[in-house]
Amino acid sequence: MAFAKPIATLRSATGVPVGRLAMWWLLASEIVIFGGLLMSYIMHRIGHPEWAAEAAHTNTVAGAINTVVLLSSSLSAVLAHQAAQMGNGKRAARFLWITIGGAATFLVVKSFEWTHEIHEGFVLTRSGFWSFYYCAAGLHALHVIAGSIAMGFVAVDAAKGRELQRVEYAGIYWHFVDVVWIFLFPLLYIAK
């Protein structure tokens, strides 16, 4: 069904394009979702000194690899945005696919990491630390999956030169996912 955008979508009294504005509000709500979970985690982590022994079993190498992967995928997302700004939809789509490849790599590393940990006996119910570990990283992984699906749609459109402004919005979302991981990494892997 052909869909014509209403005039409302084309107005911009704030000076920020509506799509980007909505994305910022979405991120504000995401901040409080992750914030609620991470604040709960931090409180428990400080209140439970015995979790240090549990946290020692997390795999810093896997976490570091994943950080590199996510930072690099952020780079390709911003390069996609740069290409879209230049009006080069094909190049933007290529960079978006690279970003999605980064997301896939992230998930593969994560699944190997988790398989190993579960095999070692560090399951969800082992202690509060592991519950939070799987809960927070899992919620983040869900965002990685959602973001890559969204970027897939944007990339298909961008390759045809349509809706290039969405490349930026998808990128902003992706950088947010990256920022969440930037905080999850020290919280779960480094502070032991």
Binding site: A4, R11, T14, W25, I33, S40
Partner: protein, 588 residues
């Protein structure tokens, strides 16, 4: 911009009585004749989505009302056969109470006040043709509908619906061994989470639309109160719901995967859930209050034919309310084991938040003062909203003081208090908005006499339910008891009589809704002349669109020249001055 913008003194004639959907307007070429499904289920038109939200909400309210009827009958006449329900077990009682609360707040107050009126009013009042993201809007309703279906289906799974109260405190909510409703609890949490997603999507749409799609000439301070308030309510919702979504994930894990986020025996903390819940739960009160407050403000201004008193001050008090509402949540937990020093802080903030709310009421009264008041049905609802909500607010002071709360907590006093806030918000708010914007939505006028009869009986019934409950609460009636005859100290004739009075009040209130339905159906079926775009002689832009507004709302998108409340301007002949009417000296 030409003078074609209608000045409602001359209700323009180009809309014949029953133009059902305004097919004559064609500046949106995608508006081809649609099949039933396209029109009613997959429409992206904000007005249709508003209707969907409204009638889904009303249908859910009927279910919630039926549950209330069932458990009130059980309380008044313990263990007797309840007409239309049967015998009620203690477990069923808990399920009924839990789902009554959940449905009335999340599936009636939220969809009707924010989603329905937000969808209907925001594009109309800021003078644009639709929401900025129509398809996200449609998705929001579809997710909402899915959540409603999941909630209803949770009644019919093995073990019955969730019964851990609408606040879902663990460990009762987290462990099927305690609440005996494994699948039901999971479905309940899932439904609530989906519903939040739906309102997040809707809220982003409302905020973005009001921020960026206003008509040319409309500044932020030219937006009508109800638009402001729905936007602020959406922001509050969005900023507060996150921790609860995180909490819902944790609760789902506790229920299904055996984690112990909220299990104190393994290092979890049940108080954490209460914090996560009420960090959302208290702003939520203001999320539903503000749209109703905004509607009553608009209606009071229209029917007093006066500028709203201190429009900007009113909005500043709303901002203050919004900010302070994030500092009061723990007053729900005074006896839950929070640190007494924190209880002191939260007592003070709670008492402070009554100041801006009281100021709003004063400003409405000041608007009335010296106005030429017209007691139409919407005005009656608006006035009763302020009066009844005031009672709810005043009794809240007792509960907000941590000392008094130790006695009142979990008694019927609390129930009476929050029903004096939520019933005005949800029920009175709905009737207020519905009767006021009915001509706009359907191009017909409701019967005033029937409306007034309905109003008075509903208000009588409502007060008859909850005034007695203040007294039983002060006497010590605990909330979550399904049969008081098991408790000798509460099983007294005087108390039981009060409980029966409350139940009779509920029966009166519910039966009064038959008058309302009769009125609506009669109006729908009657052949009636279209009252024109502006039957109430209101200033805001929604009344310059034809009734009902066609797809795309306005024949020509309006330009705004002044604020929304220019009533009884001394230099004008008519006592109102629509926002889109060009100033007398303008050349174009």
């Amino acid at each position: 911009m030409s003078n074609a913008a209608p000045t409602a003194t001359a209700p323009h004639a180009h809309e014949p009585g029953h133009a059902p959907d305004g097919h004559s307007h064609d500046h949106h070429d995608h508006h081809a004749p649609q099949s039933f499904f396209q029109k009613y289920l997959f429409s992206t038109d904000h007005k249709m989505i508003a209707q969907q939200y409204m009638w889904t909400g009303v249908a859910m309210a009927l279910i919630g009302g039926f549950l209330a009827y069932a458990f009130r009958m059980q309380l008044a006449f313990p263990d007797k056969w309840i007409p239309g329900y049967g015998y009620m077990s203690s477990l069923e009682y808990n399920t009924a109470v839990t789902n009554h609360g959940t449905i009335m707040i999340f599936w009636f107050a939220m969809p009707v006040l924010i989603a329905a009126f937000g969808n209907l009013l925001i594009p109309l009042m800021i003078g644009c043709d639709d929401m900025v993201f129509p398809r996200i809007n449609r998705l929001s309703y579809q997710i909402f509908l899915l959540s409603a279906i999941i909630l209803i289906s949770s009644f019919f799974v093995k073990g019955g619906g969730f019964n851990g109260a609408w606040t879902a405190y663990p460990p009762l909510s987290a462990n099927a061994e305690y609440n005996m409703a494994g699948t039901g609890s999971t479905l309940w949490v899932l439904a609530v989470a989906l519903e939040f997603v739906a309102f997040l999507l809707g809220g982003i749409n409302f905020i973005t639309t009001a921020m960026s799609a206003r008509a040319p000439g409309m500044r932020l301070w030219d937006m009508p109160l109800v638009v402001w308030m729905i936007v602020i309510a959406s922001i509050l919702f969005m900023a507060s719901v996150g921790p609860l979504i995180a909490g819902a994930v944790m609760l789902l894990f506790d229920q299904n995967f055996g984690t112990f986020f909220f299990n104190p025996e393994r290092g979890g903390d049940p108080v954490l859930w209460q914090h996560l819940f009420w960090f959302f739960g208290h702003p939520e009160v203001y999320v539903v209050l503000l749209p109703a407050m905004g509607m009553s403000g608009d209606i009071i201004a229209v029917f007093s034919r006066k500028k709203i008193f201190a429009y900007k001050t009113l909005l500043y008090t709303v901002f203050a309310t919004g900010i302070i509402s994030f500092f009061v949540w723990a007053h729900h937990q005074f006896i839950a084991g929070i640190d007494p020093r924190m209880a002191n802080i939260f007592t003070v903030t709670t008492l402070i938040i009554s100041v801006p709310i009281a100021e709003m009421c004063f400003l409405f009264i000041a608007t009335l003062y010296g106005g030429s008041i017209r007691l139409t049905v919407p005005m009656l609802w608006a006035l009763s909203f302020v009066a009844e909500f005031l009672l709810g607010g005043v009794t809240g002071i007792f509960l907000g003081a941590s000392g008094a709360d130790i006695y009142f907590h979990d008694t019927y006093f609390v129930i009476a208090h929050f029903h004096y806030t939520f019933v005005p918000i949800a029920v009175i708010g709905f009737f207020m908005g519905f009767t006021f914007w009915f001509p706009k939505m359907y191009g017909k006028m409701l019967n005033e006499t029937l409306g007034k009869i309905h109003f008075w009986i509903t208000i009588l019934g409502f007060n008859m339910i909850f005034i007695p409950l203040f007294f039983t609460g002060m006497w010590g009636d605990h909330r979550r008891i399904y049969n008081y005859s098991h408790f000798p100290e509460l099983h007294r004739v005087a108390l039981q009589d009060l409980r029966i009075v409350a139940t009779v009040g509920l029966l009166i209130m519910i039966s009064a809704q038959a008058i309302f339905l009769f009125n609506v159906i009669k109006t729908f079926r009657a052949k009636q002349e279209n009252p024109g775009p502006n039957p109430w002689h209101s200033n805001t832009l929604d009344w310059s669109a034809p009734s009902p507004p066609p797809h795309g709302n306005f024949a020509e998108l309006p330009t705004v020249f002044r604020g929304p409340y220019e009533y009884s301007h001394p230099e004008r002949e008519s006592d109102f001055w629509p926002q889109n009417e060009p100033p007398p000296g303008s050349s174009t």
